[in-house]
């Protein structure tokens, strides 16, 4: 029985390896960019004013897909909150005592958390200039938040504040999209604000604004999910 199972595993792995090997052996680097990549490479700077082409594609050309991604994350956070709200511990009892964080973690967190939060904000505000953007910045914000929770398990952020940040930034994101449809070329068009000087912080129209909103929303969603995990009652 055991031998048969191991044989099946080995055969499956060999098949997977063969599939990857055929992909690898048949790989020929492209001689030139394909049509859509060529379009993005040639026209992004003129059309959107963004220095980071990836950001322009994510926020403007494929803005609707990004809205969908943000919605998926929102639904995940909402469902996690809904499921875990059943077993939320009473205010004082949550996370107390048994596994104290230790001096090193507490002191390190006190030094690092402000820097991590600042870096997250830097990443999403500069999303249109340098690699990074709303999702990355939001994840960095949330890792700052979870470091705070690890260092002080009894700590609470205000759920009301987090959900307010999340709803306001989500709503503002959709409103900016609709304004783009009315005043500019289409839903989520970034040309509702002046494109500005290429490469400066206040450039690329609405992209920095949208990325800041996405960053706040993603950060708030991840933080609220992690906090829900922390707040659940120990199974007795």
């Amino acid at each position: 029985m055991n031998l048969a199972r191991n044989t099946i595993v080995v055969v499956l792995l060999a098949l997977l390896g063969m599939a990857f090997y055929t992909l690898f052996a048949g790989y020929v680097p492209d001689e030139s960019l394909n049509i859509s990549a060529l379009y993005y490479a040639e026209n992004t700077a003129a059309e959107t004013g963004a220095q980071n082409v990836v950001a322009a594609i994510i926020v403007t050309y494929r803005g609707l897909d990004t809205l969908g991604e943000v919605t998926v994350l929102f639904l995940t956070a909402a469902i996690v909150g809904l499921v875990l709200a059943e077993s939320r511990a009473p205010k004082k009892a949550a996370g107390h005592g048994i596994l104290p964080p230790g001096e090193l973690l507490t002191t390190g967190a006190r030094l690092l958390v402000p820097m991590i939060l600042l870096f997250g904000a830097y990443v999403f505000i500069n999303g249109h200039l340098t690699p990074g953007g709303g999702f990355q910045g939001g994840a960095i914000l949330a890792s700052g938040a979870i470091l705070m929770l690890l260092a002080d398990p009894g700590k609470r952020f205000s759920h009301g504040l987090i959900s307010r940040i999340e709803s306001i930034s989500g709503l503002a994101y959709v409103v900016i999209g609709v304004i783009g449809a009315i005043w500019a070329g289409g839903f989520l068009d970034n040309a509702i604000l002046p494109l500005g000087t290429f490469g400066s912080l206040a450039s690329a129209g609405a992209i920095p604004l949208i990325y800041a909103l996405i960053g706040l929303k993603v950060g708030a969603e991840f933080s609220s999910m992690l906090q829900s995990f922390e707040e659940t009652e120990d199974a007795a």
């Binding site: 690699p131 990355q136 994840a139 960095i140 979870i146 922390e230 120990d234």
Partner: protein
């Protein structure tokens, strides 16, 4: 550039496979969690080498940062509950 790129990518690939094997075969849970975080960290450096800094940042922040944190978090919960 290319002369340096290929050995570095090979080293990173071997390191990824090594830390994945460590995560599978180690006996302590915390080592397994850290080793699987290490796989993501090497993967993000590999993405950086392949000129995809945006993907590298996502991988570093979510794959090796948040996921590892989450596992550590849950592990400490499990330990706390089994102590009771």
């Amino acid at each position: 550039m290319n002369m340096l790129l290929i050995p570095m990518a090979l080293v990173l690939a071997v390191a990824m496979i090594g830390s994945a094997a460590l995560a599978l075969f180690t006996s302590t849970r915390i080592t397994a969690v850290l080793a699987s975080g290490l796989v993501s960290l090497f993967a993000s450096v590999l993405f950086l080498l392949l000129a995809a800094p945006d993907v590298a940042m996502t991988e570093a922040a979510i794959g090796s940062g948040l996921t590892t944190f989450l596992f550590v978090f849950v592990l400490s919960r499990i330990r706390r509950e089994s102590d009771q």
